[in-house]
Amino acid sequence: MSTKAKASKRIPRVGQGVARLDADEKVRGLAEYADDLQVPDAWYGYIVRSPVSHGRLRALTLDPDYDWSRIVVVTPDDIPGENIVDMMGRDMPFIAHDEIQYRGEPIALVAAPTRKQAREAAAHVRADIEELPPLLTLGEMIDRYKRDPSELHELCAQTIRKGDAERALEEAELVVEGEYRAGHQEQLYIEPQGMVAVPEKDGSVFIHGSMQCPYFINPELCVTLDLPPEKIRVKQSAVGGAFGGKEEFPTLLAGYCALLALKAKRPVKIIYDRHQDILYSTKRHPVWSRYRTGLDKDGTIRALCVEYVLDGGAYTTLSPVVMYRGILHAAMGYRCDHVWVDGYVFRTNTFPSGAFRGFGAPQAVWGLESHVDDLAKACGMTPHEFRLRNALREGDVTPTGGVLRHSVGSPAVLTQTVERSGFVEKLSRCSHGRVSDGKWYGIGMSFFAHGAGFTGDGEARFKAKVALDLEPGEDGWPVVLVRASSTEMGQGTFTILPQVAADGLCIDLNRVRNPYPDTKYVPNSGPTVASRTAMVVGSTVYGAAQKMKKQLEEYVTREFTGGQAVQLVDGQFLTADEKVAMTFEEAATHHFQHRGPLRVYDQFRLPDYLQWDQKNFVGDAYPSYSWGCNVAEVEVDPRTLEVNVLKVTGVYDIGKVLNPVLAKGQLEGGLVQALGYAVMEKIEIKDGLFDASRMQTYVIPTTLDIPEFDLDFVEFPYEFAVPGAKGVGEIPMNGLGPAIANAVEQATGVRMRELPITPETLFAAMTRGASGPLLRTGTA
């Protein structure tokens, strides 16, 4: 046993900052994105959209003076299956046929030999619509919510009830209230949405394009096209960024292409231009939240009452799960025995809101972490003292009653960020709007968690599956192929999963590949969402690799060493006395010749102690949490009120860091998106449409907007599965907005309650007068 232990795992791949395996094709311009795919004879699809926000479609007619001979038109009558998008709520038709719920809703589809002809033909489809009054903005929605929620169309709702928060609020020594808002945010991946559908001779359809979740598209199209699953093959092309924007939306695009392709009996592709992409794709849900918190004067949190309300747009789509993640993060991170959270998503007559990195959590943390600074102030404590006093620690209980059993990076991330950033000393230098010459300086912080994996018992029920194939590669040498439905969209899947597989097998990384997922070959490991790939799919890949290792070791023992046990170490099979029996390549080649290729499967498992009551939201909301803390330093120009973010310090616990270079890249990229959300990115509804449709009007950070970053990791590995990663994709989006708002308050003396913070909104807030926390004392 001792030699075995000594011999195992000499070249760890996990934990190394190896170069991305897809970097070469990307820097050489060889990666094939949706618009680069060669599709002979493809026609172009175009969507005919409703010109009104709310109404009833009375009739659809084709302009009789237009030449339709080389045009294919699809209306609801052409849908072989159900005219329903098979997502949550099942309330969205694929093509509207009766009530119209938003401006831009598809009312017909057309395809033509060129993009220009398709667009032109679409303009000749006439719709007769009886207009109905629409509800268009978060502002109007919240006005009605405050007046009488029954005036609203509720898409979904959920509560969390821990203790008796209303009573504890009555009994608290201090009560602090606050309201927070944030608008839409556009994902703005640089590659616009793109999809191709190819009808095959056997009646099946091949879908190829830019997507996060091949196994979302497959089951949905079964319903719409009335085809069995094996007749729908879905493959991912290179994806030029997604951030949630290519989670559920590509399912619609795949459907439009497939419906047109089946009718046209030829391939159809749709590549959005930037205008279409911004106007007619999902955005982050706008949010309004209200906090009422009971405190003791010594800084103990007695009660947290939260309302968390999202603008879902016209249909349900993924809103329930976005809201669930939102309410689970809306009071997360602090000790409190009495927590009530009410979550709602209401309809507005706008494009359905959807997935965006963080998935409801950034909206929740925005309110909570702004509010926590008000709490600290109310009891005369500094922001870090208050957080440190109340932060959840190992063994503590979450708002849903789950126990944080292990791998808890709190309060480590908090103490380290405070120290690294010099927070205490810098806090004493803040301007509070009182310095008359020069710029106003402020520093602010935020502290947050992010649940890894699906919410609730999602992972337990789903049981992600992966496979590994050992087969001859193009060069004749054996390769191990990772077969998972997890997509590469820039975040590094095609590098970290091979790293994990190489480690599990104990072979060289250059013998492992991760091809683009294709439902013909990959089992369903679930969608590439929810910061689940590293933890859930990664550990399942590790399990499969260990199985394959064992099978190969047994094979070599049986075939070559006369029963003497061997172990695969660094690509060589070693006997107990450390003699090399043969190499991995030799054994694999022998296996191909005599037994053929080798495939192993594995499935994700969770510890039995995890319990979740989906109806009442009680128990372990996530298998584990990543943790983070941000400190932002800002300078505000007193004349222009421009907010310049100077520096961001952050320490994160994402469990075991699989690849530090890639993980840092996730932090930096995510923080820059969060920076945009906080101080730049603004898109509103005007006449039922988004008021920006190009990159010049929807402005995101450029090279000139980037603050100094000081980022680090502290590792509290997920204990239940090797290699122990938790999740890094989304957490960088969570905390920067409130950290900046808190810094702006320290700089200007004004509490901002709406994102983004712009010179205009800051000016409005300053002229309204400092809106401090609403404070009541001693009601008990």
Partner: protein
């Protein structure tokens, strides 16, 4: 409309293209010359993904009519970088530093880097940021891209002894 013919030196090789003069350089490169490395992120000059080099100057291929590019013009696209020393150094640095994530901005980005290094052997971080301000990247936060360009500049200067 009457088509015109142009002979260009594309990535070091003579290429001929025949096209209606108003067609975008981007489409002629991608569709007629098969150089699909150059990307379209916005089609209106706002993202930089379509950046190519024409006679030593970076241009936005989505805004330029192909007819504007004279006969005998030298065009460099992302596919041509590996034929040059600067290009190879840049590619290596981008790979090592983790500068590419989704990769969609990269053809334009790295072509901008190439144009910069061909003109300035020792760019400081400020110049790097300014010269790439028109190349939008939504993935990386630009940190690793700037690092890669700095590294490439140092290596290149070391190689040429400049």
């Amino acid at each position: 409309m009457n088509k015109i013919t142009r002979s260009w030196i594309v990535n070091g090789e003579p290429r001929e293209a025949e096209f209606a003069p108003v067609r975008r350089l981007l489409d002629v490169l991608r569709e007629d010359l098969g150089l699909k490395g150059t990307k379209e992120g916005c089609g209106e000059g706002e993202c930089g993904a379509c950046t190519v080099i024409v006679n030593g100057q970076p241009v936005l291929a989505c805004l330029m009519a192909a007819g504007q590019v004279e006969d005998q013009a030298e065009i460099v696209t992302v596919e041509g970088l590996e034929k040059t020393e600067t290009g190879r150094i840049l590619q290596q640095a981008y790979i090592e530093k983790g500068a590419a994530q989704c990769g969609f901005c990269i053809p334009g980005m790295i072509v901008s880097s190439y144009a910069l290094l061909e003109q300035h052997a020792h760019p400081d971080a400020g110049l790097i940021r300014e010269s790439h301000a028109g190349n939008i990247c939504r993935c990386t936060g630009y940190e690793k891209i700037v690092e890669a360009i700095q590294t490439a500049a140092e290596r290149r200067a070391g190689n040429t002894g400049s």
